[in-house]
């Protein structure tokens, strides 16, 4: 496996009961790269994203076939500890979902559940993560206030800080800006640019401009199939397939 490859998906099939939601998907994720997953609603891109940190395990009656490798190790191997896996592959959700706790406790949560008790270590990591998520300056005087008092955009950056605090290697983002206004969206996109220096980022988005702005590689999904994947500037300017071209130019979807 290529040293720059962080994750590799090989022949992934996913079933909800009898519904074949993902059909034989194979896709690589480069380290320190942003990969965007695009496609119309219901195409399977969010399901695919949730396969990458086994978030789908929670749903009854699902089946997963195929391989998902993280640093050459299959994450669906029975020996894998799912909790540790999810601390290595962080996730940011569509709607900001901070816990009804203080800003501090939100960011400290992942550290606490992993068993860390050292107070100075936790405090330092909280500060560092909030700085990394470009939120520190806005909240440094009120980190013991409720996280629910923050604006939507701030809440989403808090959720990113919360994910960063456990030092993940990969971050999955499921339409992280779709519930935010344009200015908050811009801040999230700037953040993604900063974060990809040290992290591998996989982002699902409905917004083609956003995919073009933030990603290095784009993958187009349709009806549970991976239709085309390429470097973002190539996929958006010279797509190989008519189907891809139709979608990115807005002729269907």
């Amino acid at each position: 496996m290529d040293a720059d490859l962080k994750m590799l998906v090989k022949g992934l099939n996913f079933f909800y009961d009898n519904f074949h939601a993902l059909k034989n998907i194979s896709l690589d994720f480069q380290a320190s790269h942003v990969t965007a997953l695009i496609g119309p609603s219901g195409c399977g891109k969010s399901t695919f994203l949730r396969c990458l940190n086994r978030m789908n395990d929670l749903i009854p009656k699902i089946r997963v076939k195929g391989k998902v490798l993280l640093d050459n190790q299959d994450i669906y191997d029975p020996s894998v500890n799912v909790a540790i896996l999810r601390s290595r592959i962080g996730m940011v959700f569509q709607k900001p979902n901070p816990f009804p706790k203080t800003i501090f406790e939100n960011v400290a949560y992942g550290l606490r559940v992993s068993g860390i008790k050292d107070k100075t270590f936790i405090a330092d990591r909280v500060t560092e993560s909030l700085e990394q998520a470009a939120l520190w300056n806005e909240v440094k005087d009120r980190i013991y206030d409720s996280a629910l008092e923050l604006s939507g955009g701030q809440q989403q950056r808090l959720c990113i800080a919360r994910a960063l605090a456990v030092k993940p290697e990969v971050i999955l983002m499921d339409e992280p800006a779709s519930a935010l206004d344009p200015i908050a969206t811009q801040k999230i996109e700037e953040l993604i640019h900063q974060l990809k220096k040290t992290l591998t980022i996989i982002i699902v988005t409905h917004n083609m401009q956003q995919a073009a702005r933030v990603s290095d590689t784009t993958a187009f999904f349709y009806m549970g199939n991976l239709i085309e994947t390429d470097k973002t500037d190539i996929l958006f300017t010279k797509p190989k397939l008519k189907q891809t071209e139709d979608y990115i130019t807005g002729r269907f979807g």
Partner: protein, 293 residues
Amino acid sequence: MTNQFALPSIKYRKFKQAVFFTLLRFAAIINGTAIAIILFFLLKNGYKVINWTFLTQPPMDSMTRGGILPCIIGTLYLSLGAIVIALPIGIISAIYLNEYARSGRVLRIIRLGINNLAGIPSVVFGLFGLAFFVIYLKMGVSILAGALTLGLLSLPVIIGATEEALKTVPETYREASLGLGATRLQTIFRVVLPCAMPGILTGAILGISRAAGETAPVMFTAAVFFTPDLPSSIFDEIMALPYHIYVLATAGTEIETTRPLQYGTSLVLIALVFGMNLGAILLRAHLKRRMHI
């Protein structure tokens, strides 16, 4: 530009709305009136007997004078005991049902059991408590047997309230917690339960305060006609407010003379139940503030 054809129709719709809202308002007012009438009736007939002696002395002269302290203490002990017994079992059951159990035959059977438990008349609980706790387990007529019976009686309410409270915790909190590497157990204890706790405690206390006023289960398992002594252990028999009212109103030779005492005792019982409910509301407000909800 006005649409002249729409005018009569909008008038008619507004009229319909006014009629309907008036009906709704009346339905709501009936509730308020009912409680007001009951309270007024009790206050009017019972307020004269409420004084310090009534609240701090045992009954005297064949229960025609004196106070009801043993009954107050008895009912408090029974309620407290029922909470201690039913709250943990109820909460744990609800967590299992709502957070762990996968839908299937076993879950359906358990739910059927809980729903039927809720439908059992309280006198049957009393008889069961007598047969099982008092006689079979040799607890005797005691606080323990009464508290267990009342606890059992309030279990379905507590399970129901807890499940409702757990359902109000957004799925996104669970996902966020799991996504950060927490186990399901950590997610339940650190995120789900704290969020649901205000609702759980309110529901539980409401359930217990309902049970505290039950007469039948208590008269089979815990209460006696008369005892001047306050209990010294959980195996002691006690007096209880609801049973005392029943005794005064039906079984004495001085039913008419003790009428004011009956109303006074009812007032104290209602005050106790309202007090518990108020406590539940205050507790919920306090927890919500602390939880930053």
